[in-house]
Amino acid sequence: MPSASASAIPFGRRLPEGLLILLGLFLIALGRGAFSARPTGFTLAPKPVDAVRVVTWNVGGAERGGKWRSMDDHSLETVKAVLLELNPDLVLLQEIGDRDQLEVLIDALGETWVLSSRLRSSGRRLAILARGGELDRFLLGGAAQSALAVHWTSQDRKISVLNLHADAFSASTRNEELGQSVDGLLRVLNGEGAIGLLGGDFNLDLDLDKRGDLFSDDQQLDVESYNYATSQFEDLGLGRGNTAAPDRRIDYLLLHAGQYTLGAGGPLKGRRSGQMDHDPLVVDLHLP
């Protein structure tokens, strides 16, 4: 029969460290909140009455082996359905297959919608679709190949809009395209109250959480490109989640405006179809 010397350690003697362990676990659970605030994207809701809802969406797809292809007819149905659900006012699309697809979308959205598009050398189209008003295209200069720029005039409000699909492979090309887009758009924004919107697929991912090779030339160029653009424009999608597979934020909506209020926004998740690899990025803007 073992004596008291050999008996198990009584619970009371474990109490101090037990309390410490419980306190530690409690604080860890409390601090868990720092991570739970990850953006979940845009939640579909009726558009506020006085808001302008803007959408940018690369509707093309990515195939295995790294080949890109423009929107197919199956995806067209998806895009049409999503746009109808979203009820947007301004839509920037990249990687449209052909003009017929745009006609289908315009027909679906309604008679008041207007459209401007351009064919890129890759055979894919950029398009800007707007609810009512007029679209007046203007030329940019160097970035002409990859961007489409229009003045959208509607209800006494003029917004200069630039839809950019920047190069996916070369950081220096992206740097040039984005820089020229920013400069080109700024050139046409004359006077107080002028509103400029620069959106599209910029193909640069600077997520704070992702640690790439920070000191590669590409990374540095992308950082500089982004910093240059955001020195003049507000990044409306910042902190609102990733827009493209796999887990990248490469679609942007940048705004240059004297006064505005940013409402709900973010990528609308779960609406891709086929080989689409981007979510539509949606923001609600309250403009003067």
Partner: protein, 328 residues
């Protein structure tokens, strides 16, 4: 001061201590003796509350060391081997800092106690040197000095004479005796150097493979321990003849045989050998020293381990530390 009843400790499956009974009263000096791995340090570690007994009961100064180590350490002081010290501190700092650690945070040392302890161990001259430069012997002395500050009721020393020169060993012995006489200090020391044990201690606990081999006063160990030796013309045949007659023998070197136990009849031995055509050239009895007696106990323990008196002892006449001899 120390009371152990059926004390046991296991390291996994191995029994490091098994059913040890031991008592040490105030003012007594006792020694734990045994070869390496016999359980001496395990016993001391249990007494210090460093190890948790797996069976039995152990009290030091009236407290269970594993549960009430702090209370035990208020009355007892331990010095383990090899002496572990803080390399960056001086001898004086060791005594000041360690000696003033108390359960309630109040300094415990009396004025002059540090000087007294340093003087006792002969380190006064080097009191302000960092121990990193100390020799092993000086470390041993400092370990003893720290164990004396503040003066305990029970002093437990693990191999205290390791690394000490003969004069220092003699001095240590005097210190311990004086502390006992002046302050009634109880001392438990473990050692494998038997000469210091023989001259110093009141009680002896011999351990082997975790078990008690002998418990009592040192002189009881060798009391009555005598052996018989003989020299014959043909040693090998003589051993066979005597074994057939019921007497076991062991070769003792130099062509001699050693008979187990004493009180053999010389005439009967001679008759048996002569009948086999073997000449008996010599026959004599010899008393065992304390050290030899202890060695015989340990060797006998290989066949029979108990605290009971063992009458079937075979003997070899070898001097020196037990451990060394057993290894040989």
């Amino acid at each position: 001061m120390i009371s152990a009843k059926g004390l046991g400790h296991r390291f996994g499956e191995r029994k490091a201590l098994d059913g040890i009974d031991f008592e040490l009263g105030a003012g007594e000096i006792a020694a734990l003796v045994g070869p390496n791995g016999s359980g001496k340090t395990t016993f001391l570690s249990c007494a210090a509350g460093f190890l948790r007994p797996s069976s039995g009961e152990l009290r030091v100064g009236g407290f269970e060391p594993w549960r009430d180590r702090r209370r035990v350490m208020e009355r007892a002081r331990f010095a383990f081997a090899p002496p572990a010290l803080f390399e960056g501190l001086t001898a004086r700092e060791h005594l000041r800092y360690l000696g003033n650690i108390s359960r309630k945070g109040r300094p415990r040392l009396r004025a002059g106690e540090i000087e007294e302890a340093l003087e006792r161990v002969g380190l006064s001259e080097r009191a302000d040197e960092r121990v990193g430069a100390f020799s092993f012997g000086m470390r041993q002395r400092l370990a003893l000095a720290q164990a004396l500050t503040p003066r305990p009721e029970l002093l437990v020393l693990d191999e205290p004479t390791d690394g000490l020169d003969p004069l220092a060993v003699l001095e240590l012995r005097k210190i311990l005796v004086r502390l006992r006489e002046e302050f009634g200090l109880a001392v438990l020391l473990s050692s494998h150097l038997l000469i210091e044990v023989d001259l110093l201690v009141d009680h002896l606990l011999v351990l082997n493979e975790g078990r008690c081999l002998f418990k009592g006063q040192p002189h009881e160990l060798s009391k009555g321990n005598r052996v018989t030796r003989l020299r014959a013309s043909d040693t090998e045949r003589a051993a066979s003849v005597l074994l057939a007659a019921g007497w076991s023998t062991v070769p003792a070197g130099n062509g001699e045989l050693q008979l187990a136990g004493t009180a053999h009849d010389l005439e009967q031995v001679r008759t048996k050998l002569n009948a086999a055509g073997i000449r008996l050239d010599g026959y004599w009895e010899q008393s065992l020293s304390f050290e030899q007696a202890l060695l015989e106990r340990l060797k006998a323990a290989r066949r029979n381990s108990s605290c009971e008196a063992d009458s079937s002892i075979s003997v070899t006449m070898t001097a020196g530390p037990i451990a060394k001899d057993l290894e040989a």
